[in-house]
């Protein structure tokens, strides 16, 4: 029981349920108040995760279903920060919704409960339940704007393809269980390395990979991403792009290093398969972004490209690769959320998410234009911003693993990325706004968040030691 109380999942869940009840009894509560209460809860839980190794203790709990370790703590903090920003964003966004505004603020908390659990999952049962908790709440969130057909369409597409991928995932898990007689990650790795391989094991691995590639939107399982990113309410898009993607990667990290894919015989093949997927994903994400004129869709493709970069680092199967994965994720967390946050705020006032709507933004809201520029320049990987450190780490890891083709693809993709990221900057600074457009106003809290994220991108870009220290902590004492 004591352990239950200490779990961040449990704490966040209780907080979310309390808010649900509170909302049910006092429906007239302003959405903004509710959002701030949610942020407060998330911040408290985030604080608690820092002492988790002390209170709960590093180790495995609930008969090996749940693990507290450096990786889980890192990702829990990652998801909680994402949640805080997403709620902040939703508070700005929620006025657009015609009805049931408050639930829109509470559902992300439940999604995050799933993500937190996923970060600690070291057993296929926990992992599957957590993953479904995340995915199912996302179905609801994506289709939340019931009055907008784009949102509904996105919801349906996400539901069908998501269900499909879940089917493959369960199928794979079942095969694996049949072979190894266990669902625990560690036990499976052990069994596989003592017993001879057979076709059904490999088949199982391929199917599990399909399920995860759907989550991280790797080619060719990315196909849902552009439509869903464009159609979903912007805070949900941000949550999908950052949170959901990271959730896929934490599972992939565990499976690649500590479970079935980590089998020494299979590992080199997995590595080259992931490298191929990474290369294709980077190419597609980057090039398909070029002709886009809708900012959210463009960011959807760009997030596919980023997933490719992260996969590239992961495919090296080296400590340096893991290091690069984590740093890239942090850089994408800050820059991605900054971009989506400003798009939420601005598009609410200019009533459109097309690039043209952002013309002349530098005159209508200098801060918003500046913030977006910082975000895009960081994503493009220009020093001294944090995105540069991310890209550099990935390319260095790939170079070290002697995947020179991948390095070449990465460099070209970074150059092409520069083109479309800076074209957004061009729209904001050089194109004149249409006549009669009013100034774009940022609320006080929005300004705070923008400055915080901008400062994060710039300061950590120049002074990287804090991030490096955090990442080193994760890597410490593990056999990567």
């Amino acid at each position: 029981m004591k352990q239950f109380l200490l779990m961040p999942e449990f704490q966040l869940l209780v907080w979310a349920l309390v808010l649900f009840v509170f909302d049910a009894y006092r429906p007239q509560t302003k959405p903004r108040t509710l959002a701030w209460l949610g942020i407060l809860g998330a911040a408290l839980v985030l604080g608690a995760t820092f002492v988790e190794p002390l209170t709960m203790g590093v180790g495995q709990y609930f008969h090996g279903l749940y693990s507290v370790d450096g990786l889980s703590i890192f990702f829990k903090q990652f998801f909680l920060v994402t949640l805080i920003v997403v709620l902040w964003m939703s508070a700005e966004f929620v006025e657009v919704l015609p009805l049931a505004r408050n639930e829109f603020l509470l559902l992300p908390m439940l999604t995050t409960v799933g993500m937190l659990l996923l970060a600690s999952a070291v057993d296929f049962t926990t992992m599957f339940v957590a993953l479904e908790l995340v995915t199912i709440s996302f179905y609801v969130l994506v289709a939340y704007q019931r009055n907008r057909s784009a949102s509904l369409e996105a919801g349906v597409k996400y539901l069908i393809i998501g269900a499909l991928s879940t089917g493959f995932l369960v199928y794979g898990i079942a095969f694996l269980y049949g072979n190894a007689g266990s669902t625990s990650f560690a036990t499976i790795l052990e069994t596989l390395s003592t017993n001879p391989l057979n076709l059904s094991i490999l088949f199982a691995m391929a199917l599990i990979l399909v399920g995860l590639c759907f989550k991280i939107s790797a080619v060719p399982f990315h196909i849902w991403a552009p439509d869903v990113y464009q159609g979903a309410p912007t805070p949900v898009t941000a949550f999908l792009a950052v949170g959901s993607k990271a959730a896929g990667f934490v599972v992939l990290l565990r499976l690649v290093f500590f479970s079935c894919f980590g089998n020494p015989v299979v590992a080199p093949y997995v590595s080259s398969l992931l490298a191929v997927l990474a290369g294709v994903t980077v190419i597609l994400g980057t090039f398909a972004a070029l002709p886009q004129r809708n900012l959210k869709r463009l960011l959807g493709y760009s997030s596919i490209g980023h997933a490719g970069f992260i996969l590239m680092a992961l495919s090296c199967l080296s400590p340096r690769g893991v290091n690069a994965v984590l740093i890239y994720l942090i850089s994408y967390l800050l820059a991605g959320l900054l971009a989506f946050f400003l798009i939420t705020v601005v598009s609410k006032q200019v009533e459109g998410e097309e690039l043209v709507n952002f013309s002349g933004l530098s005159k209508r809201s200098p801060l918003a234009a500046f913030g977006l520029t910082v975000a895009f320049v960081s994503m493009a990987g220009i020093p001294p911003l944090l995105g540069f450190a991310g890209k550099l780490g990935v390319l260095a890891a790939a170079w070290e693993a002697q995947r020179y083709v991948l390095v070449g693809i990465g460099v070209i993709a970074a150059a092409v990325g520069l083109y479309y990221y800076l074209s957004i900057v061009r729209y904001m600074y050089w194109n004149e706004a249409a006549d009669g457009t009013a100034a774009v106003k940022l609320s006080c809290s929005a300004k705070w968040l923008v400055w915080l994220l901008v400062a994060g991108v710039i300061v950590f870009g120049i002074y990287q030691m804090p991030i490096a220290t955090v990442v080193d902590q994760v890597l410490l004492g593990r056999n990567w």
Binding site: K157, I161, L199, A288, P291, M465
Partner: protein, 605 residues
């Protein structure tokens, strides 16, 4: 805590730029106070020599490269800190009087503070990379200050010239730093000196005997740019377009001396190659005499002082080349006092003559501006090496080193000493003595106390600086070597010769009696540069323009843009929005994965 020395000017610069700039007086006060705080903190560091710890933070920590932002307050650094912040303080106070009426007063002081921050950063740096960062910051603030009156095209041009010429030197410096890092694997001064002291060379240097020379030359190039040595000296005379306090602070006393300071810092590396030292000594000697010759025929009071600065910097560099780093640092400090004094004196004159800088339009200022004239005379005497003043001792130390090591360099040095006395007394006689040479002098008046007080302090330092300094810098080794008396006698002779030449020729003359167009036109160096570099550059630029327009622009950029766009359009076709097509693609992916497993992993069992 001890970072106060560095942080005070930074805080002042930021505060003034962001908040205080509408309140001029307050801005000035904050800037002067910041400088005073730095000075006091330097004093503390100096008297707790070595006992005070400067905490450092890791700025970059990569495998094989660790760069700290950290301080190294050893004897060398403490002396330099004192000189920079002390002279800086005098000049800050003077600048208030000089710039009082300027509308950009706050901007000026903000930049002065920025400069102090950068300069103190160079002095404190405990590794080459940090030094390089502040080195560039100094270059930036110098650019901003030379171009302070950016409305004047000549000032803007001069600022640009200084910045670009310095880039050339910095490029070499950066290569030198990279070389050091490649060879020793660290850029930290302490670790480097330990490794060098341990006696065995790293593999890279042991296998390539020439590498250490290249590294040394690279590092020296930084000094050639910043300390304006021949052939990169061209920017310094033009830099006189900046306000006079700036010339005093940056282009006489502190920044240009940074090159010499850097050489002393890395001397243990330079020392490894005999050739490098020879190059340094010869280039220093060449610059010394070259600039002194030009100075004899200039008519602008600030330009004469600028060429004199070049010449004195040549002395210091020469001393480093001869291995006499203490002598170099000693001369650097005394020079900082009297050259700042001379520039400020010139500033006082220019201020009272409403920005008249031609010495042939001055004359007879002795009676009109007694304090300025007296202090200027003291500065002149100190610079020319009048016995018992500070310049005498420091110059003597350098000449003595030259006498012991290299007679050719010594003879160049001693001739330069004579020339220095000659052109400085030419300047003094024409500007201060005799009868007024134009009506501009009629309205001349003594400057206010805020300007004369710093002059007096600097004059006192110019006189007594050496008494305090000699022990600090040279220890007791000075008197023990041979040749001391010969050198001293010769240099006194040259001093007397120079003075009498200058006074006899110029005391009564109303216009220039000697015309040597080679010197007056600075050996035609600007024209030569124009012919070689500017035309050569034009040619190269045309060529590159062609390449850029047709090959890069036409083929690579437009070609790849078209290719990218086509690729993008094709990929877009995949994304038709049709759900069953999506599921199809998804299933194809699954099939691909399973196929891959079958084909590639089959051999495993």
């Amino acid at each position: 805590m001890n970072w106060v020395v560095l942080l005070a000017p930074l805080i002042s610069a930021v505060l003034i730029t962001l908040v205080l700039h509408p309140m001029k007086k307050l801005s000035v006060l904050v800037s002067i106070l910041a400088c005073a705080v730095s000075f006091l903190a330097s004093l503390c560091l100096f008297y707790n020599n070595g006992a005070m710890h400067l905490s450092s933070i890791d700025w970059l920590d990569l495998p094989g490269l660790k760069v700290q932002i950290g301080g190294m307050a050893d004897h060398l650094a403490c002396l330099m800190l004192l000189v920079v912040s002390g002279v800086g303080l005098c000049i800050h106070i003077f600048a208030y009087g000089y710039m009082k009426e300027d509308p950009g007063l706050s901007r000026f002081f903000a930049k002065l503070s920025l400069f102090m921050f950068s300069m103190l950063g160079i002095v404190l740096a405990n590794n080459l990379v940090m030094m390089f960062i502040f080195w560039e910051l100094v270059g930036l603030s110098s650019y901003l200050l030379i171009g302070f009156w950016f409305q004047r095209p000549s000032a803007a041009e001069a600022a640009k010239k200084a910045f670009i010429v310095n880039r050339l030197g910095d490029f070499g410096f950066l290569l030198g730093i990279l070389g050091v890092w490649l060879a020793w694997g660290t850029v930290d001064f302490k670790e480097l000196s330990q490794q060098v002291a341990s006696g065995h060379l790293p593999a890279l240097l042991a296998n390539n005997p020439f590498a250490v020379t290249l590294i040394g030359i690279g590092l020296f190039m930084g000094c050639v740019g910043k300390s304006a040595q021949f052939p990169l000296h061209v920017w310094l005379p033009d830099a006189m377009e900046g306000p006079t306090p700036v010339s005093a602070l940056i282009h006489a006393a502190t920044m240009v001396a940074a090159g010499v300071y850097m050489l002393c810092r890395v001397f243990f590396i330079l020392e490894l190659s005999h050739q490098v030292l020879q190059v340094i000594a010869s280039l220093g000697a060449l610059t010394a005499i070259f600039a002194a010759l030009i100075a004899t025929q200039q008519n602008d009071i600030k330009r004469i002082l600028a060429y004199s600065t070049l010449s004195q910097l040549g002395y210091m560099v020469m001393a480093v080349g001869l291995g006499a780093t203490q002598a170099a640092m000693f001369h650097l400090s005394t020079h900082a006092f009297f050259k700042a004094l001379l520039f400020l004196g010139a500033g006082s004159v220019i201020h009272s003559l409403h920005h008249e800088q031609d010495i042939w339009k001055m004359g007879g200022l002795w009676k009109k501006m007694p304090v300025t004239a007296w202090t200027f005379l003291i500065g002149t005497l100190a610079l020319t090496g009048c016995p018992l003043l500070s310049g005498f001792f420091s110059k003597d130390a350098i000449l003595l080193a030259a006498f012991q090591h290299n007679k050719l360099v010594f003879s160049v040095g001693i001739i330069t000493a004579g020339l220095t006395a000659y052109y400085m007394f030419r300047l003094f006689a024409v500007a201060f003595l005799g009868k007024p040479r134009s009506h501009a002098v009629d309205h001349a008046h003594e400057s206010p106390l805020v300007m004369t007080a710093p002059l007096t302090i600097l004059a006192a330092l110019s006189v007594f600086g050496a008494l305090f300094g000699q022990e600090e810098y040279l220890g007791l080794e000075h008197a023990n070597h041979g040749g001391g008396w010969i050198v001293m006698g010769l240099s006194v002779c040259m001093f007397v010769l120079g003075i009498s030449g200058g006074l006899l020729l110029y005391l009564k003359s109303r216009e220039e009696p000697i015309h040597i167009s080679l010197f007056a036109n600075k050996f035609y160096s600007d024209e030569l540069y124009e012919a070689i570099f500017v035309n050569g550059q034009q040619l190269l630029a045309r060529l590159l323009d062609w390449v850029d327009r047709w090959i890069v622009g036409g083929f690579l950029v437009r070609g790849s843009a078209v290719l990218s766009t086509i690729t993008g359009e094709v990929l877009r076709l995949l994304q038709g929005g049709n759900l069953s097509a999506y599921v199809m693609v998804f299933i194809v992916g699954v099939v691909f994965l399973c196929y891959w497993v079958l084909v590639y992993l089959k051999p495993l069992f």
